[in-house]
């Protein structure tokens, strides 16, 4: 039956109410997708459905106001990992945390990880997530060899070679083509669960961007943190960390007996929502300055554990509550390789506008994959954490959109909570390819989310 719940994304903005059901198998899921129950009131004629994994999309992608949200958490079986190919079939609700707890001890790492292990496989596919290795390995769906999709018209097996239109529409399709019930993923072999890391500090943005252009090819993983809160003069100072998985030979003798360790769950937890205004211009600037000065000017060959390198925030459960009752936005955009000027402009806009970013992360993307809504395109990407509160923020982010759209770039839908609907077609000119697939697998327009409705992606399909 399911119970009604108020849901938000990780940014804790725009709550909406939906009936939440957690099917235990594909049979129960199919019943939901074909049942087409009337809305709670009777006034809504269409039932709406969207899948939700661990709720780590920042905006409203995994919400469905007045409709049904499928919690995929119980679809979490992990099959055996093929020792030769590294292929493993896992349920759509499996978290990267659980997969890694199992796989790392056998010497396998996930091919792509975002900044947290707390994402589901289905969510990783729906957002076609990327990690610090995008320039080297591409995004998540490039490592998926097949998946099972539950749609309103039935259960469909798909992969890059089997119904590629459906597969790539699902890759980055924000759950609008169906519910991923399982997927087969090619894992990456590792000798140890540690990373060999080089760190460099730069006093300005030009320096770090040049270093990334020149040196990224020599590293599997690369990402820069940028200070946007240091005032106009120092804004853009950066810390670049790059590395690769450590081999057994890289470990000191004391660690060689146990080279592989599973990641630990969070040790700290934020239970209370912080008071509003805790993260203001002054505290954000102080945090950023501390982060910058803590980093060494240059250090090579440092051994780090995986959690420190990939998932520093996973150590604190519920860290999003620190942003206070109004929540926060993530703004991430991508522009082409020759549009580094947009990165400069964006950082200047925030530094000037009194809308500081708590964390700003800069990375170079490699070529994108064929998904019409897959976010990464070759070039630069900048991700910003913006606490709600400054009255200029709504306008500033609208301005950022215009800059990004004019440069032929796009924003990341898994993080969006406020894009102007007219821009979705500009930023994702191949949107129609997704719509054609939706027409085929979901002709009655059952699958939609608050995100798809807000951005007008269901227009001409459903009422509005």
């Amino acid at each position: 039956m399911g119970e009604g719940r108020l849901l938000t994304g990780w940014g804790r903005t725009s709550p909406s109410w939906a009936r939440v059901v957690a099917p235990g198998d594909t049979g129960e899921l199919s019943a939901e997708l074909s049942g087409g129950r009337a809305g709670a009131s009777g006034s809504a004629s269409t039932t709406r459905i969207i899948a939700r994994g661990l709720g780590r999309s920042y905006g409203d992608a995994a919400q469905c106001a007045g409709g049904t949200v499928i919690d995929v958490g119980r679809l979490s079986d992990i099959g055996p990992i093929d020792p030769e190919s590294g292929l493993v079939t896992v349920g759509g609700g499996t978290s990267l945390q659980h997969l890694l707890e199992r796989s790392l001890l056998e010497g396998w790492f996930v091919p792509v990880t975002p900044g947290t292990r707390q994402v589901s496989i289905g969510g990783a596919i729906a957002a076609d997530v990327h990690g610090k290795n995008h320039h080297h390995d591409g995004s998540f769906c490039g490592h998926v060899t097949s998946l099972t999709l539950s749609t309103p018209t039935g259960i469909i097996q798909t992969g890059p070679a089997l119904d590629p239109e459906l597969f790539w529409a699902t890759a980055g399709g924000m759950g609008l083509t169906g519910v991923v019930t399982d997927a087969t993923v090619r894992m990456t072999p590792v000798e140890t669960s540690r990373m060999l890391v080089d760190t460099e500090r730069f006093t300005d943005l030009d320096g770090v961007m040049a270093a990334m252009e020149e040196g990224d090819a020599g590293y599997r993983y690369s990402v820069a943190w940028v200070d946007t809160a240091a005032g106009r003069k120092r804004a853009g100072r950066s810390v670049l960390t790059r590395g690769d998985h450590a081999a057994i030979d890289d470990l000191p003798a004391s660690l060689r007996s146990r080279p592989l360790e599973a990641p630990r769950p969070a040790r700290l937890r934020v239970r209370q929502t912080a008071p509003s205004g805790l993260l203001n211009a002054a505290t954000v600037a102080a945090f950023n300055a501390a982060w910058y000065h803590r980093a060494p000017r240059r250090r090579t060959g440092e051994l780090q554990d995986m959690a420190t390198f990939f998932h520093p925030l996973d150590g604190v459960d519920g860290w999003n509550r620190l942003y206070g009752p109004r929540g926060f936005l993530q703004y991430q955009f991508a522009v082409g390789p020759h549009r580094g000027d947009v990165v400069h402009q964006a950082i200047r806009l925030l530094a000037d506008g009194g809308t500081p970013s708590f964390l700003a992360v800069l990375k170079r993307f490699g070529p994108g994959d064929p998904g019409p809504l897959s976010f990464p395109i070759e070039g630069w990407t900048l991700a910003l954490d913006l606490p709600l509160g400054p009255p200029e923020l709504a306008r500033a982010t609208d301005q950022l959109d215009e800059m990004v759209a004019q440069a032929g770039g796009r924003v990341y839908l898994a993080k969006d909570a406020r894009l102007r609907p007219e821009l979705i077609q500009v930023m994702y000119p191949r949107l129609d390819e997704l719509q054609e697939v939706r027409e085929r697998v979901d002709p009655s327009g059952l699958l939609c989310s608050d995100l798809s409705r807000r951005l007008g992606m269901d227009r001409a399909r459903i009422e509005r």
Partner: protein, 254 residues
């Protein structure tokens, strides 16, 4: 759908021809709003306000007629507004009300009943119907225009003031009832607003304009605040005024 800043894309305005309502619509249309439904009593005035909204960028502006003297028709009026919107409504603005004429309103029982009906009974009845729609949607915000006249009722306008006091209390209660439903209520308490409705009346201190009130309303949509004052300073002014001894309160001008 409302975005992270609470900017609505669709809006229903009950009493959509008032100056405050039109200022709210202008502000919303300058942001994300595209669908506006205007409801009111006067077809000619509605047509003018609708034309204004289209010129400001609305896709379509259906209009709905209702009579605020007839609470029995309130539910039907609200249903027609939601049907006219053609989908979910992100924000509903309740701007129904009349200032009345204190001298006759306090002596003529029929006039007393009329003011209480237009300012309290009809809006409260309609808001219950709105709440049912918003609950079913699982999201949406109801903005209710109250007044500082209801915060502490004065001798000089106690009929109007008491009707707003009732509406204000009802709205706060409805907001509490809607907690957890995805829907919410924002009560707006403006001071003296310079409009046609108040033309020729003596201005109270901290008099304001429809644009200031409209801004307070859109800010309230953004923050999800339960109560918004316009101008904001009135929150503190009334924190004092509410607690004045009656002997002093009675002697204040206005």
């Amino acid at each position: 759908m409302n975005d992270a800043f609470g900017r609505p894309q669709s809006m229903v305005v009950l009493a959509g021809t008032s100056e405050i309502a039109r200022a709210v619509v202008r502000r919303a249309l300058a942001d994300r709003c595209r669908t506006v439904v205007l409801a009111g009593r006067n077809p000619a005035a509605l047509a003018v306000a609708a034309g204004e909204a289209v010129a400001a960028g609305a896709d379509a502006v259906p209009t709905v007629l209702f009579d605020a003297c007839d609470p029995a028709g309130a539910r039907d009026a609200v249903d027609r507004c939601f049907a006219a919107a053609g989908g979910d409504v992100d924000a509903v603005v309740m701007a129904v009300g009349e200032l009345g004429d204190q001298r006759t309103d306090e002596t003529d029982p029929e006039r007393t009943a009329a003011v209480l009906t237009v300012n309290f009974t009809w809006p409260a009845t309609a808001m219950v119907a709105v709440a049912a729609h918003l609950r079913a949607q699982g999201h949406g915000r109801l903005v209710v225009l109250s007044s500082v006249a209801g915060v502490r009722v004065r001798r000089a306008n106690f009929v109007y003031g008491s009707s707003k006091a009732g509406l204000d209390a009802f709205s706060v209660g409805l907001g509490e009832a809607l907690r957890g439903s995805g829907a919410g209520v924002t009560v707006v308490r403006p001071g003296f607003v310079r409009t046609k409705m108040t033309l020729g009346r003596p201005e109270a201190p901290f008099a304001t304009t429809p644009d200031v009130v409209a801004r307070a309303i859109t800010d309230g949509l953004g923050s999800g605040a339960a109560v918004v004052w316009a101008p904001g300073l009135l929150r503190w002014v009334f924190a004092v005024l509410k607690n004045l001894p009656t002997t002093i309160w009675r002697r204040l001008p206005g």
